[in-house]
Amino acid sequence: MTKRHPLRALLRQDLQRAWQHGGQSLLPLIFLFAVIAMIPLGLGPGPNLLAMIAPGMIWVAALLASLLALEGVFRPDLDDGTLEQWWVDDQPVLALICIRLGSHWLISALPIIVATPIAGEMLYLPAEALGLLMLTLLIGTPILSLIGALAAALTIQARQGSALLGLLIFPLTVPVLIFATGAVSAHLDGLTARPYVLLLISLFVLAATLVPLAIKKALQLNLE
């Protein structure tokens, strides 16, 4: 007799599949470094200028990487019939959704956070800002995963879903981007980054409490 461990099973499967699609999983990193290698070519390699735009550049790369991975959050599962299995036999749907969000974040955001020290070095980011930038990424990228997954759940049946996804998501991510980069520039200007970080945290708490419920409802509507 095997006991069921749906959450563990789903997490293992998600990571296993990401590992198998090696190239696709490296996409966020390739993205990050493509952006970072191109910017100095376009703007000129002046250290002051690069240092100023570094946090914003790294954040934009994180945003795009998150968006790129969204197509795969729920739609393949709807198409192959595995999504409806989440609703059969009293499975913990909400927890399964959170696991899926977690694996989206692990695949799309974590590599970027880990690579941020190197990227920062390439853009002359002052060393004292690095820790703060990574902190904002750590708090902010889960918000991107949450908002993005909600949009993906809502547009799961729509044709041209990815174009719609981008349109839906970008306005909603603006506050995250503003508070995150605001924190880093305030710090570099000698001001306190505290209010920005606290605002980011409150955004995260708000999204983390409401969004999974909304995703569950959206997916359920699309299963009908």
Binding site: M1, R4, H5, L10, Q13, H21, E84, Q85, V88
Partner: protein, 203 residues
């Protein structure tokens, strides 16, 4: 004995119209219920209601026992190997302690897919994928089986294999509801037929 699924006057509304005429379902232990109806009459919707994937717009459903549902999309990830698909379901759905679970390898063997264990599900034929989807009834057995067109794309051997699975499960006092419109299961167990009538049409 009490029924494992008891549904009273259930129906589902889509775009404000009933998909099928309100229906009673009483599925008993050891009983097979064959759900018949034309294309589009609501067989799939009825099974999804019984499985709990969608909620009835009217009527009520009571379930007593663990449920396995296999839809017309067999729930097989094409980029996983056949073996990994079954390993996933063994862990994800788990086995009802009332029934003996097979190991994923044994289930693949039973489904006639022993040689395809390391192949990706995407490379299997439609019939082999269907067998793989059904094989999860062996690694993660449940009391109530809800099967939507399980005979789709199966050859004669495959159909006989499914009939054997059903007979075995019914003999263990399991219950099965099957939607099938072409192939009729050839079973020893008592079969109850439920005809689904499409809902009221607009003139």
């Amino acid at each position: 004995m009490d029924s494992v699924i008891h549904a009273q006057q259930i129906s589902f509304h889509r775009h404000g119209e009933r998909v099928f005429v309100p229906t009673n379902v009483a599925l008993m232990p050891g009983q097979l219920c064959l759900i018949r109806g034309q294309n589009g009459s609501g067989k799939t919707t009825l099974l999804r209601l019984l499985a709990g994937i969608v909620h009835p717009s009217e009527g009520s459903i009571a379930r007593h026992g663990s449920v396995a549902f296999i839809g017309h999309r067999p729930g097989v990830k094409k980029d996983l190997t056949a073996l990994d698909v079954l390993k996933f379901y063994a862990e994800f759905a788990g086995a009802d302690p009332l029934y003996g679970a097979m190991s994923p390898q044994a289930a693949l063997h039973a489904a006639g897919l022993a040689r395809q264990a390391r192949q990706r599900a995407g490379q299997l034929s439609a019939g082999q994928r269907q067998r793989l989807g059904l094989a999860r009834l062996l690694v993660a057995p449940k009391t109530i089986w809800l099967l939507d067109e399980p005979y789709t794309s199966l050859d004669a051997d495959g159909c006989a294999w499914v009939d054997g699975l059903l007979d075995q499960h019914l003999a263990l006092n399991g219950s099965v509801a099957v939607a099938a419109h072409v192939y009729q299961p050839k079973l020893n167990a008592p079969t109850d037929v439920l005809d689904v009538q499409p809902g009221a049409q607009h003139a």
